[in-house]
Amino acid sequence: MATQNTKTLARLMMAPAVIVLLVWMVVPLAMTLWYSFQNYNLLTPQNVSFAGFFNYVYFYTDPAFFESIWNTLVLVLGVLLITVIGGIAIALLIDQPIFGQGIVRILVISPFFVMPPVAALIWKNMIMHPGYGVLADVARFFGAQPVDWFAQYPLFSIIIIVAWQWLPFATLILLTALQSLDSEQKEAAEMDGANAFNRFIYLTLPHLSRAITVVILIQTIFLLGIYAEILVTTNGGPGYASTNLTFLIYRTARLGYDVGGGAAGGIIAVVLANIVAIFLMRAVGKNLDR
């Protein structure tokens, strides 16, 4: 990549990819921005007109707006908490040499292969269903009243389902990080008199900090947009108890046929996601620079 020739060639070769990426990202964003300033309802598609900031005000004053933001945060933080702590625990476990290690690892990772709506449906109908779910059977076996998960703890149920799906991802990343820990360092700590707990606190956890950062960053991006699990289980309810921002936008745009309002919600979500991203990078991103 030294001569003028190769530089020109490189730019030429990269151009299609860069252009496609730009178009792919910029066009939808621009269209969303455009629609967010339009009165555009699918029930009256002939009456399209400039709306100013009306859509934003409308979305902001929606009684569900702050509840949905709160729910989004609870959902993201809850899933992160379960997947990071659970991921470290499972990674530590399956890092131990055991019989059938390969099969155990594949089984642990397999939830990641199940597509979200399918997983959510299985949880809804076969595990958490108050009538014929496994958990209800267990409750009845102990003589307890079965819990109607989606009615009584709607957001918590969704956190469980999403955490189940993302646990393998966290486990996988943390396991590879765990395996890259120098065995001589572990032995040195052992010679230095550190017991298993101290070795974990002073050696393993600092070593994992980078991987944990990666898990948090990547998962946050995806968890801010959780939608399918809510759609097939609680449908955002009861009331707005399990509606997150993504689902509120869907509700406005699709159930209210309000394209303008949905677009405004989308722009608000983009802004909020960026705020979260800035905070995240401030808080944990410095771990990546080492």
Binding site: D182, E184, Q185, E187, A188, A189, E190, M191, D192, G193, A194, N198, Y202, L203, P206, H207, S209
Partner: protein
């Protein structure tokens, strides 16, 4: 105090018998070097003493106390690893302080010990740095520092210099020897480099395939190797071995002559040959001579000898410096 006794220690990994059975006595304050080719079990033996591997049989005694089943930390030993095994996310200060912190010493005592160790090892200016900001030699010193603050009854070194360049290796060799003179603590040092073994050791243990071939002081091993393996391993360049008629005339199956014990002449001598490669080191010249009917012999001669590739020379082994071995490879006294 730090005397270590091994009684019939053995180690097997599955089917492989790495160490069949070893008896060894290490006295307090001794600098003992385990030396041998790679795969001879020297590192395994060190790890058995450290407690990082469980013995398959036998006993390990430290100061007369049986520690065979004790955890590594309970044995009162400190180890310096080949990769230094510093904790990358801790400063040099915290690295050195780690064993003390684990021993739950109070803050003031830890600080004092760390600073003392840092002064001894010339690390005072680097205490707040991370290991990644240090050179190889400095990392090595931090690893040693982490070992000495514990005031162990013995130090274990596992090929500590093999990651350093040649010049630094020479310096560190001196520093470790000096450290031993100051601390007078037992040290066990594993290496495959016989130069390190010869220069540092009070006592060398030559290992081959998990067995002790010979134990003795460096000059003992040099002067009277017990068998062909030790004879070939100790000394650089290697000892020349001659079989057949020449050996029989000395009443042996094989005779060995060190390169430095061969006299060279351009006119007459015991063996005639042609010079293959001449390695001029300045002070010495190593001549690789293709001797007629014997094979390649190495001779160490003065640096200013004017012989070159293809020259015809005569080699004569010095009387009284010839090592004789029987058909089992054992030295004939």
């Amino acid at each position: 105090m730090g005397s270590i006794t091994l009684k019939q220690v053995s180690k097997t990994f599955g089917e492989a018998k790495v160490i069949p059975s070893i008896d060894l006595e290490i006295n307090d304050g001794e600098f003992v070097v385990f030396v041998g080719p790679s795969g001879c079990g020297k590192s395994t033996l060190l790890r058995l003493i450290a407690g990082l591997e469980d013995v398959s049989g036998g006993q390990i005694l430290i100061d007369g106390k049986d520690v065979t089943r004790n955890a590594p930390a309970e044995r009162g030993l400190a180890m310096v690893f080949q990769s230094y095994a510093l904790y990358p996310h801790m400063s040099v200060r915290n690295n050195i302080a780690f064993p003390l912190k684990m021993a739950k010493l109070d803050k003031a005592a830890i600080d004092k010990k760390v600073e003392d160790a840092a002064r001894v090892l010339n690390l005072t200016d680097y205490l707040e740095r991370r290991p990644s900001q240090l050179s190889g030699g400095q990392r090595q010193r931090v690893a040693i520092g982490r070992a000495i603050v514990r005031e162990p009854s013995a130090f274990l070194f596992d090929e500590p210099l093999s990651n350093l360049d040649a010049a630094l290796r020479g310096t560190m060799r001196l520093e470790i020897s000096e450290l031993h003179n100051t601390l007078k603590t037992t040290m066990i040092y594993v290496t495959h480099d016989q130069v390190e073994a010869m220069t540092m050791a009070d006592k060398i243990v030559v290992l081959n395939r998990g067995n002790i071939e010979q134990v003795g002081s460096p000059l003992d091993l040099y002067r009277s190797p017990r068998n062909l393996f030790v004879a070939g391993f100790i000394g650089s360049p290697r000892m020349n071995f001659v079989k057949g008629e020449n050996a029989r005339s000395h009443g042996a199956h094989t005779i060995g002559v060190r390169p430095e014990h061969i006299d060279l002449s351009t006119s007459a001598g015991a063996w005639r040959g042609t010079v293959g490669v001449a390695e001029h080191l300045g002070s010495d010249t190593f001549l690789h001579v293709n001797a007629d009917g014997i094979g390649t012999l190495t001779a160490r001669v003065g640096g200013d000898l004017p012989v070159r590739h293809g020259d015809q020379v005569y080699l004569t082994p010095q009387e009284g410096r010839i090592h004789r071995f029987d058909d089992k490879g054992l030295a004939i006294k």
